[in-house]
């Protein structure tokens, strides 16, 4: 129990960060018109593709003879990039269609 508290204490900055970011996410999203739910979900989907940065870090740290890490990391970079690129491109395609509307809802 003590060590759990110690872990939280050491990462207090992160805990703050976590809570504020959660509240921010809730705040940013509320009041979205229903017509934007799909593009918004798709855009959010692309943003969590930031996990690819983790995959890159893994690869940067892996020693060149650790084939398991290299193989798995390589795969991680590919799927992560798929998430990012595919997500943003799909979202852009969806939103492209909204551009001609003359006035807001």
């Amino acid at each position: 129990m003590e060590s759990i508290l110690q872990f939280i204490g050491e990462n207090m900055e992160m805990v703050y960060f976590l809570i504020l970011a959660i509240l921010l996410g809730v705040e940013v999203i509320s009041n979205v018109p229903a017509i934007l739910h799909t593009p918004l979900m798709s855009g959010a989907n692309a943003i969590h593709g930031v996990v690819v940065v983790g995959a890159i870090i893994v690869m940067l740290q892996a020693s060149p003879d650790n084939y398991l890490a290299l193989g798995v990391g390589f795969l991680a970079v590919i799927v992560g990039t798929l998430n990012v690129i595919g997500g943003f491109v799909v979202t852009d395609r969806m939103l492209e269609m909204f551009k001609k509307k003359p006035k807001k809802s």
């Binding site: 979205v32 017509i35 934007l36 692309a46 890159i56 998430n83 491109v89 909204f98």
Partner: protein, 467 residues
Amino acid sequence: MIQLTFLEIAYLIASLTFIIGLKMLSHPDSARKGNLVAAAGMLLAIVVTLTLYQDFDSSKLLNYGLIFGGLVVGSVIGTIMAKRVQMTAMPQMVSFFNGMGGACAALIAIIEFQHHQHSTVTGFDGELLVMLLGLLIGSVSFSGSLIAYGKLEGKIKDKVLPFNQVINMSMLLAIIVLIVYQMVAGSSPLVFYGILVIALVYGVLFVMPIGGADMPVVISLLNSFTGMAAAFGGFLYGNKAMLTGGILVGSAGTILTILMCNAMNRSLTNVLLGAFGGGATGAAKTGSGDQTVREISISDTAVLLSYSQNVVIVPGYGLAVAQAQHICHELEKLLEEKGVEVNYAIHPVAGRMPGHMNVLLAEADVPYERMQEMEEINDKFTNTDVVVVIGANDVVNPAAKNDPSSPIYGMPILEVEQAKNVIIMKRGMAAGYAGIENELFFYPKTKMLFGDAKATLQKLTAEVKEI
């Protein structure tokens, strides 16, 4: 040192673009720019990681070849898939990309676990816990998203195992026990991979029984799962960009999921446990056999439409599947020229996801102001001469209002039965996506126009031109 400060500043900027991008995405006017802003931030985060990232001991960082290879392969495949996909198949595409993000998070956890085995932490091992959670949520999101993808593609059928909920609950319990065990007894590869396997199976069984109309909710939920998994990865590396991006999507995704549930007037638990539309509880009463429907011919429809004051079109997924949105827009223009006022009534969950139908109609150049949301248009139906329902079913089913035994009871619907005439364009008498009968079809004012939506609309447009 300076290099690291630059790195941190760049991550800060990337985090800001995610927040601003998401904010802009939630307004129609700025949505497209918002997407590009977030994408630019993502590019920045990736580039600075490649160029500025340093290990604690500033040791050699390697494998650039492989990293670039992975980035190129991922980009090329991702772009091709995203460019080629039909607008109707958008929901499953999002689900697929989401699954890839989940897989990425799980793979990172696997590699980090390999490294972690050499460490000798005593007491509470927070890092291990974060890894385990990243692994768990990432894998559930991966396998769940792929099942959701397969279901929407029609490749996987809804399936409810006997005691499905019991199995799911016990698996969840097993995972928790294994995680606690691992936290107490120290890391063991066997337990770690055990959790991986159970999590993957859990993802499959979690989505499997959920069917029909509820799939968008599940995709949105899995989307926020992947966000959380990404945030755990960010925690592991103390990476602020990953943390912000992940948490933001995690919480925003959860809210979005709840908003979608609200649009269908159902609770999240109900969606997840109800197995609605999967055939388990959806066995609502079938229409009594003596009821008959009235058919209408294409030329009669053309006359009726041409001499109406105002017409409301209710598009559904059937319109999208038949790729009939363009011809539908043509018919609308033609009627406008004849002085008929034409509007579209968009149910919040028309199509397969909220807002999906708006995207499809916008693709066909239907003006934004013609698309009316449910609350606006419901008051106007009493003054509407003709409602044309094209390939929609459950969203106009009056049972949602007046049959408490119906599985969709309580869902807000488009009250088309208040209009003077209702024309239903449909392929046949099959039930809608939720698998239930629609009494509207048997109302005296309802006429059926059977056939493929696109072919029928083409003939109808030709007829209207003649008049």
